[in-house]
C-alpha cells in the first residue's frame, strides 16, 4: 500500500510514482544494502523522528515512528536481510511492507542501492521496531519547495561562480 501523501500546492510528483504495480509493490528487486542517494539529501533525527530534505527540489519527508527507525537503520548501512530479521517480531511490519517502504524511498530518490558491505542491525533495533505504534510510512511535502530552492544557501555553480538556484520541478 502506498502511504505517502503530498501536501501543499504546486506541481509535484504524486504517490503514483513510476515503478509501482497495481498492488503498490515495487517492481524493483531489493538491494542488499542502501545509501543516501545524493549529497542533496540531508537528514536529521529530532528525538528519534527522522526528517529528510532534498535540497535539489526543496521537498521534505516525514516518517511514522517505525519509518524513522527503519530510515535510520538503512542510512547507517544496515543490510536489508538484517533489517527484515529485525522486523520479524514487529506486528505492524511484515516483509512486504518493508519492501514497499524501501521501494518508496528509492522512488523518492532518497536512497540508492549501495555497493558497501551490509552491516548487522543494532542489538536494540528488533525491540524498537516491535514497540513501534505506527505502520511504516513516509510522507512527502512540497509546501516549502519554492522557498527552499530560491534561498541563497546553495552551492556555487563552479563554471559560473553563482549560487546554483534550482528550479522547482
Amino acid at each position: 500500500m502506498f502511504t505517502g501523501v503530498v501536501q501543499g500546492s504546486g506541481n509535484d510528483t504524486t504517490g503514483a510514482a513510476a515503478g509501482w504495480n497495481r498492488s503498490g509493490v515495487s517492481d524493483m528487486p531489493l538491494s542488499d544494502v542502501y545509501a543516501v542517494a545524493s549529497k542533496d539529501i540531508v537528514f536529521e533525527s529530532f528525538d528519534g523522528e527522522a526528517v529528510v530534505l532534498d535540497l535539489s527540489n526543496g521537498k521534505y519527508f516525514g516518517f511514522s515512528d517505525s519509518g524513522s527507525k527503519v530510515w535510520q537503520a538503512l542510512v547507517s548501512g544496515v543490510g536489508t536481510e538484517a533489517l527484515i530479521r529485525s522486523a520479524a517480531g514487529a506486528a505492524r511490519i511484515d516483509v512486504a511492507a518493508l519492501e514497499c517502504f524501501i521501494g518508496q524511498l528509492v522512488e523518492f530518490a532518497l536512497l540508492a542501492p549501495s555497493g558497501a558491505t551490509p552491516l548487522p542491525s543494532s542489538d536494540d533495533l528488533p525491540a524498537a521496531l516491535a514497540a513501534a505504534r505506527e505502520p511504516l510510512n513516509v510522507s512527502v511535502h512540497d509546501d516549502l519547495a519554492d522557498l527552499i530552492t530560491v534561498d541563497p544557501i546553495h552551492e556555487v555553480e563552479e563554471p559560473l561562480g553563482w549560487p546554483a538556484v534550482k528550479q522547482v520541478s
Partner: protein, 225 residues
C-alpha cells in the same frame, strides 16, 4: 497613509551597510524610519552608518540571529508598511514605490516580494545571468497588521532558514503574499557571508524548519478533528 519603515539586521556588516543604506536613501519614496539592529557585531557599525541622509535609528542586542534582530526592529516601527533588508543587499530606486502601488491596488494582499539578482562583491557589474523569485528578507514589504499577526521570526539552530519558516507561517495563516515579476533588488554574494555556500549546520536549520512545518500541520489536523 502609505508610510513605510525599514528594518535591517546587521552582524559585522560595517563593510557593506553604507552602500545598503544609500540604496534605501535613493528610493523614490522616502521611508519614515530605518531601524538598523546591530546583532552583537564586533565591528564599528555606528561609524559605518554615520552621515547617510536617512531618518535612522540604531539598536543593539547581543548576538541572537537575523530573525531575532529583525523582530526587534519591527517592534520599533509604527508605520503601516514594513520593509526588511539584509545589511549587504541593495534595492533598486523604484522598488518600494512599485511595491506600495501593488499593495494599494490589491487590498487583499498582505505582502509583496520581488525578483532579485545576485552580484559579486566588489564587482557591481558582475551580475548573475538571471533574476530569481526573491522570497527573502531583502525584497519583502508587508502590511503591519499581517506582520504582527504572524509573530516573531525564529532563528533555527544553525542560523538560517528563519525567512522560510516565517513566510511559511504567513501563508498558513492565510495571508496572501505576491511575487512581483520585476527585478528590484540585488543580492551581494561574497565568500564567508551567511548566505554563501552550504554546510551541515545550515542544512540542519532547514531541517528544523521542515520539522516545525510538519508539527504545525499535525497540530492543526488534531485541533480540527
Amino acid at each position: 497613509m502609505s508610510g513605510y519603515g525599514v528594518v535591517i539586521p546587521a552582524y559585522n556588516a560595517s563593510a557593506t551597510i553604507a552602500e545598503t543604506l544609500r540604496s534605501v536613501a535613493a528610493q523614490t519614496t522616502r521611508p519614515e524610519l530605518v531601524v538598523v539592529v546591530d546583532d552583537g557585531s564586533t565591528d564599528d557599525l555606528a561609524a559605518a552608518v554615520r552621515g547617510i541622509d536617512l531618518p535612522l535609528e540604531l539598536l543593539r542586542q547581543g548576538n541572537a540571529g537575523p530573525g531575532s534582530a529583525t523582530t526587534r526592529g519591527i517592534a520599533a516601527l509604527s508605520t503601516p508598511f514594513i520593509a526588511t533588508l539584509d545589511a549587504d543587499d541593495l534595492w533598486l530606486p523604484g522598488k518600494i514605490a512599485a511595491q506600495l502601488a501593488h499593495l494599494e491596488r490589491l487590498p487583499g494582499t498582505s505582502g509583496v516580494f520581488t525578483h532579485i539578482r545576485s552580484f559579486r562583491d566588489g564587482e557591481p557589474d558582475a551580475m548573475a545571468p538571471t533574476a530569481t523569485p526573491g522570497w527573502s528578507r531583502s525584497t519583502m514589504l508587508m502590511r503591519r497588521a499581517a506582520v504582527e499577526s504572524v509573530g516573531p521570526m525564529i532563528d533555527p539552530p544553525g542560523g538560517r532558514g528563519e525567512m522560510i519558516d516565517w513566510i511559511a507561517r504567513a501563508r498558513e495563516s492565510g495571508f496572501v503574499l505576491d511575487m512581483m515579476p520585476d527585478m528590484l533588488a540585488l543580492r551581494r554574494i561574497r565568500p564567508g557571508s551567511l548566505s554563501y555556500g552550504r554546510d551541515a549546520a545550515r542544512d540542519r536549520g532547514y531541517l528544523e524548519v521542515a520539522r516545525l512545518a510538519m508539527l504545525r500541520r499535525a497540530q492543526s489536523k488534531a485541533s480540527s478533528s
